[in-house]
Symmetry: C2
Subunit: 231 residues, 2 copies
């Protein structure tokens, strides 16, 4: 049941267009365009432009004129796809969260062995953040611009993914494979390492570290901390 970045990518590479289609279907009230194919294609252009601009200067510093230029659509056309700038942010956020939850769920139940589950959970998060890096980066950096309700959703997803790790660690402790520890702290630290991968992606690129190598390092780090010394 082991998988590497290449296998992970093949499974999830078609997800970008799919996400745009989901967004179209779930936001019919605010999207004025009726032709689905055209809408999906333009949404993809818009999101690409948003990620491109806001990874440089931030979402809130991105003007609608910037977005118009980068996406090749006029201001008027853009407003056919969302109610206002805040709404655009909310749509992106909501859909990204749904995607993450689906993927991580799928990869956290593949084995009864806590060691394998730990490996799998750590790798899936890193690989996913590699494929959907603009989204991860964006969510982290723009958290301050979210509404209170949206922020609460982000916190819940954070807690949810942290809990996946905590439960694996607990299971391992019960089976006497992992040491007894403050598992919440361990999970936090694991998440901190995963987070570094998408926040400091440039640094790792320069050093030519692949997603597989990074994931292995994190896993090795965690295992040396968690395993009973017999291992």
């Amino acid at each position: 049941m082991e998988f590497d970045f290449k296998e992970f990518t093949e499974k999830f590479d078609n997800s970008r267009k799919k996400i745009c289609r989901d967004i179209y279907n779930e936001n019919q009230e605010s999207i004025k365009i009726k032709n689905e194919e055209r809408a999906v294609e333009n949404l993809d252009r818009i999101f690409k432009a948003v990620f491109s601009i806001s990874s440089k200067k931030g979402f809130q510093a991105m003007s609608m004129r910037d977005l118009s230029k980068e996406s090749g659509m006029s201001m008027g056309a853009l407003y056919g796809y969302f109610k206002n700038k805040k709404d655009l942010l909310a749509i992106i956020q909501r859909q990204g969260r749904a995607m993450i939850k689906n993927v991580l769920d799928a990869f956290s139940i593949i084995s009864e062995d806590p060691c394998k589950r730990l490996r799998s959970a750590i790798k899936a998060h890193i690989f996913l953040s590699e494929l959907a890096r603009p989204w991860f980066f964006f969510t982290f950096m723009e958290a301050r611009n979210l509404s209170k309700a949206e922020l609460e959703e982000v916190r819940e997803l954070e807690a949810y993914t942290e809990n996946i790790l905590v439960e694996i660690l607990l299971l391992g402790e019960e089976k006497k494979i992992f040491k007894k520890k403050n598992h919440y702290l361990t999970a936090s630290i694991i998440k901190a390492m995963q987070q570094d991968w998408y926040l400091k992606r440039g640094k790792y690129s320069l050093r030519k570290i692949t997603p597989d190598e990074f994931a292995e390092s994190v896993i090795e780090f965690v295992e040396s901390f968690c395993f009973e010394s017999s291992a």
Copy 2:
């Protein structure tokens, strides 16, 4: 030579006013106010206000009207202390970097023993980021708004602090105390954990984890990864 957060704090608590004085002295060209005492006091008020607002909504979303209100000074008065908004950002950045470099240097040479140096370097960074959290948070989040030259300075400081760790790890390897590893990757991971402390401070506060506890956890994590198994 061991120190805890309390001892660290006592040594550096008076640094905030000192920083304002340094800033005043080093930016005489752009600061129009001639009375030093008044200037230092007002700079302190301004920086406090900047950190308070921009930790909520970001520096670039902070308007000068916001800053005027929060600091209790008028727009006109504010512009006596810096040339423009960009200049204000640069001043804060420059001074913070100087402070960090000084403190970390002071704490990275206190022993010949690589274990002690590793402990000391990790703790000093976490404690410093606790005391100057607004500054750390601010630098990280506003990196995108810096000029190219400023960004280069930030990268250099990053590389510098990472190198402190790498050298300790190398020394430990030479002395056969630490395992042979990719020390750059290990240092990156250590920095990722330290970074989490100031980026996700709210989470750790909720869980009532103290700086001392967090530092010990990080150290334990790192040691279990680095030490030769005889330890």
